[in-house]
Subunit: 350 residues, 2 copies
């Protein structure tokens, strides 16, 4: 028997990943071991909606205005995510036992300080809700605080989609490797830069490769977040915080981006069977954790050397099982949406 | 809070892996979320012991005679594994609630029909005990029956160590990839043959390589079980049974061993950046599952191509996340012992 009979979802942020999550949830609904409904949606620019009896999230994912999903019977629409959270939690408390509130946080990453994600997760945990997110901000900027806050509230905070788009990493270590200590890791965690490096190997310049990625919708208009290693640094901070019990932010990660890569040298390495990759890594030295993102020329036998284009993955140095690698051949927003679903299921495993 | 307060273990088979498991359990005891004790040990040639209050398993692992571990206060020693199981279950029932019996089955693999492992698991499940094992026999020869028998008894049957020595495969799919369907897999699952192929690449003949493995204690005196692909076929049957919902035994796996490999061709492939590997694979075609073990020349970019010596791993073709690979750089009996511990912990996760 599932531990929870009914799960009420509040969606904070309603962009592409959140919409794909709603579609995936709808497609898989019949196979889930618990009933779900979406009772609230908050957006920054398109209003908020609360409907304690459940709103038509698939219609909203297909384009129905969020404001039109609000149930006027429960008063005016919430002003923002925080008011939505408070009112959704109060509605759940009124409705009584057998309901569990889960907040699905997918607002844009706040590169400077993780906000608003950090604030949303904090408010959700304090309201007693579980949180799942693919937003890097909360675990990259406030892991120890949010971990402890979740424990104090008896709530869970999951973010499998924040680092490797649904490839299991945190659940891998937590659920399948009990008692195993991770001593260090190395990984390829950013799609745009890996794609760019593969394009450089095929003869492009950095600028040409970035322009191609932008035209394909893979890289953002301002590519510096990827190219200068900031996205990888955020993911490295999350991995170090969770796997190595660190207390760091992206600003604590030593960071060298792609602009230092010599295309001719990268192509020469490739011709010799090696590969230049933007490697995220961290390990414990003298009791403290150091982390870095930098281009590294990998030998051909390194499992990370074969991860080209949108492939990504992680190599874990463990105490009991030597080195374990988990990799995937491709990535995309559908995978990130799946990560949210996997996190949701993990919260309600019988 | 753990679901179970106290776990009573019965060890069927007490060879190298079981002894390492006992040592690992002892070393990790303080960190487990439940109390354990070993209340019985059965061996084929060195007698059996039952001690409902717990026996000194670490002493037995260090060489104390099994027969000397028996508690005479509970009558004469059990004659065999089946009597031990029945008496251990009865002792647990007498002792009342809060105890959970777990059978750790590690008798030798029965290549013809999976016995005695299949019989041991059947008897254990029927007695209401959970089972963990690194023995390939039960899941290779009787998966649907034992799966259904466990469900009917409200018991669990786990065998993470039977295929990849502690590298998570079954728990990976079960616990970290909820709702993901595996459509096919390819893997390198046998240490001896992979080691032999790496040695052939370095200039050895098949016979020289096998002799080296035997001298190093990696291959058995009769190497045909490995060299002719029988070990890999058993592991392939397990993977196909569990991941693809098949109903097959090792005899149903199309099997070509290493004797067909031309060493010169293998070395030429290696020189060209490719690699000949003994690949275990299965997939669903027209509604039925077909499985094979055979030498395959892999392209250099294949993640399996880089798994040399005692490395091993699996590539899973999934419906939602594309292709996922999980690999490890080395294998050994300590890893198999860890798999038993991981299975034990997974049974009693809070």
């Amino acid at each position: 028997m599932p531990a929870t009979e009914r799960v009420d979802l509040v969606l904070l942020g309603f962009g592409g990943v959140a919409k794909r999550f709603v579609e995936l949830l709808e497609a898989r609904r019949a196979r889930l071991p618990f009933a779900t409904r979406v009772i609230g949606v908050a957006t920054a620019r398109h209003g908020c909606a609360l409907s304690p009896a459940g709103l038509d999230a698939p219609a909203a994912a297909r384009g129905k205005a969020v404001a039109a999903c609000h149930d006027a019977a429960c008063g005016r629409p919430p002003r923002d995510a925080f008011e939505l959270l408070a009112r959704a939690a109060a509605a759940g408390a009124e409705a009584g036992a057998g309901r569990r509130l889960v907040v699905v946080e997918n607002t844009p990453y706040g590169a400077a300080d993780g906000r608003p994600g950090v604030d949303h997760v904090r408010a959700a945990l304090d309201a007693g809700a579980d949180v799942v997110t693919a937003n890097k901000g909360p675990a990259a900027f406030a892991w120890p605080e949010l971990r402890d806050r979740a424990a104090a509230a008896g709530a869970r905070f999951r973010f499998e989609g924040a680092v490797l788009d649904g490839l299991p990493v945190f659940s891998l270590v937590r659920d399948t490797l009990p008692g195993v200590a991770v001593r260090a890791f190395r990984g390829i965690v950013n799609t745009t830069t890996n794609h760019v490096l593969s394009a450089i190997d095929r003869g492009r310049t950095l600028d040409e490769a970035v322009a191609e990625m932008q035209a394909a919708g893979i890289a953002e208009a301002d590519a510096s977040h990827d190219v200068d290693g900031w996205d990888a640094a955020a993911k490295t901070a999350i991995l170090a915080n969770v796997l190595l019990d660190a207390d760091m932010t992206p600003h604590d990660v030593s960071r060298t981006g792609l602009r230092t890569v010599d295309p001719a040298a990268a192509r020469a390495a490739r011709a010799a069977g090696r590969a230049v990759k933007l490697v995220a890594s961290a390990g414990r030295r003298n009791g403290s954790v150091t982390a870095a993102v930098r281009p590294v020329e990998l030998p051909g036998h390194d499992p990370l050397a074969r991860l080209d284009d949108t492939a990504k993955g992680l190599s874990l140095d463990t105490d009991l099982l030597g080195t374990i690698q988990i990799t995937k051949s491709a990535s995309g927003p559908d995978h990130t949406a799946y990560a949210l679903l996997a996190d949701l299921v993990s919260l309600h495993r019988p």
